[in-house]
Symmetry: C2
């Protein structure tokens, strides 16, 4: 079994990847990033803590742990380049980025290419956890989107597709054709909470729409939904969530569907025409 190095961002995906490694008795080692990874979970697993700019330390640690495959798991808050404390190798990587105005995916593709240049293979989380990690097409819940919600899904997908050319935006909130919010760096939870404040009285409550950026590399920063998303949707008075089938990670689908059914929300996987 090839050993896996897990570059750990925030959120439940790190746990799912670790669970998959244990299930297959695959050796793993976690690179925990300051201000990014979850210390509570990580302390019970083989790991090292590093700063985002300590590229040399990351690579040395991965080699010492015998990692051959790497997985980028979870969400990363992106710092400003000028605030990064880099080691020697980090400074060399950073020098190649100065003066560029890059989106998240362009940046992640740069990092993945550099890591592959060091001899590691980057694998997708779903290759480790299993394809069921990605939500499929159709309804997961008793409640279904209304005809108006289906129109909003179309409109939301058009907006996310337009934005994906600029390498930004994974989620949008719409109510009866009105775009209540577009996600940038704030994260889906914050998007849902703030757009809950802008919603209108009306027959159709807002819905959250998540899709995969067309320019995106699926091995990094895949859009993710979890039980926490359902809680946020309920608290904000939404009707449900629609996601691009086969492209969005659903963490613990059973718990999500149960929570949504309890709260009369829909979870719906849409496909492109």
């Amino acid at each position: 079994m090839r050993a896996v190095g897990i570059l750990a961002g925030a959120g439940g995906l790190v746990e799912a990847v670790v669970a998959a490694c244990k299930r297959e008795a695959r050796p793993y080692f976690i690179i925990a990033f300051e201000d990014q990874s979850d210390p509570e979970f990580i302390k019970d697993h083989p790991h090292v803590w590093v700063g985002l700019g300590q590229v040399g330390k990351v690579i040395t640690s991965l080699r010492q742990a015998g990692a051959q495959d790497l997985v980028l798991a979870g969400a990363f808050k992106r710092p400003s380049f000028s605030s990064l404390k880099t080691d020697f190798m980090g400074a060399r990587w950073l020098a190649q980025l100065i003066g560029k105005s890059m989106g998240d995916d362009a940046l992640l593709r740069f990092i993945m290419a550099k890591l592959e240049g060091e001899g590691f293979k980057i694998v997708a989380a779903e290759d480790l956890v299993g394809a069921t990690l990605l939500g499929g097409a159709g309804l997961l819940t008793k409640k279904a989107p209304s005809k108006e919600h289906l129109l909003d899904i179309k409109r939301g997908l058009a907006i996310l597709d337009a934005l994906s050319e600029s390498d930004v935006g994974q989620a949008v909130v719409i109510q009866e054709g009105l775009v209540l919010g577009i996600e940038a760096v704030e994260g889906t939870q914050a998007l849902v909470t703030r757009t809950g404040e802008y919603k209108r009285a009306g027959r159709h409550a807002p819905l959250l729409i998540k899709a995969f950026k067309r320019a995106q590399d699926g091995r990094a920063d895949r859009p993710t939904l979890g039980a926490q998303t359902i809680e946020a949707l309920e608290a904000a008075g939404f009707a449900g969530v629609a996601f691009e089938a086969g492209e969005v990670i659903l963490l613990d689908q059973d718990a999500m569907a149960q929570a949504a059914n309890n709260k009369d929300l829909f979870i719906y996987g849409f496909t492109r025409d």
Copy 2:
């Protein structure tokens, strides 16, 4: 002099239009919308209060006041269609909108066409106030954007242009290539305040970028900056604001420039290549 009917949204533009009418001794009459217009200013001027759905009352009032030209001044919060209380004529207009998922501009174009069908002429605020209402190209302040800010302006304009095809988005906040926020219904003030929370330590503070949606009709809902915007930028720790020259309303440019100079912010009018 043709009499002007002012459909009054929120913000200082209504005052600027009224001042221009008085300067030219042009008769005017304000249609004040519940939950939209500013009662404090409006009470001292000829006006009637209506609900957004009371189309018949709007048109009758405008005719009684002798209005021939109409100006849409200020920002309107859009309600959900299903919450609108309409009169007979409003219900007939609304019936033509049901089942459509429209952006703000498509909706405003629909409304303007209907009003012109009733015999009114829709004029732009800058035709009444004067072309100086729109900010020109170049710097208004001592401080200028950095080279990195100029890169961010390019990136911001590309994002706003991509969104404008979906008829949404007039503003974006970027810091060193990272998109901190994209405006939907929340308004520029709220966008600036929330993205101030997401900014990174770094050499270049974020900037606000405002442009004109390409599909937009300039007679309605033109992007607007005012002294309040400068206050919000300062409170949020921004470097400044860049706007599309000749396309964005600057309310009280002298006050804006003075406030920005006091706080070491830039105000910069950019042009398309």
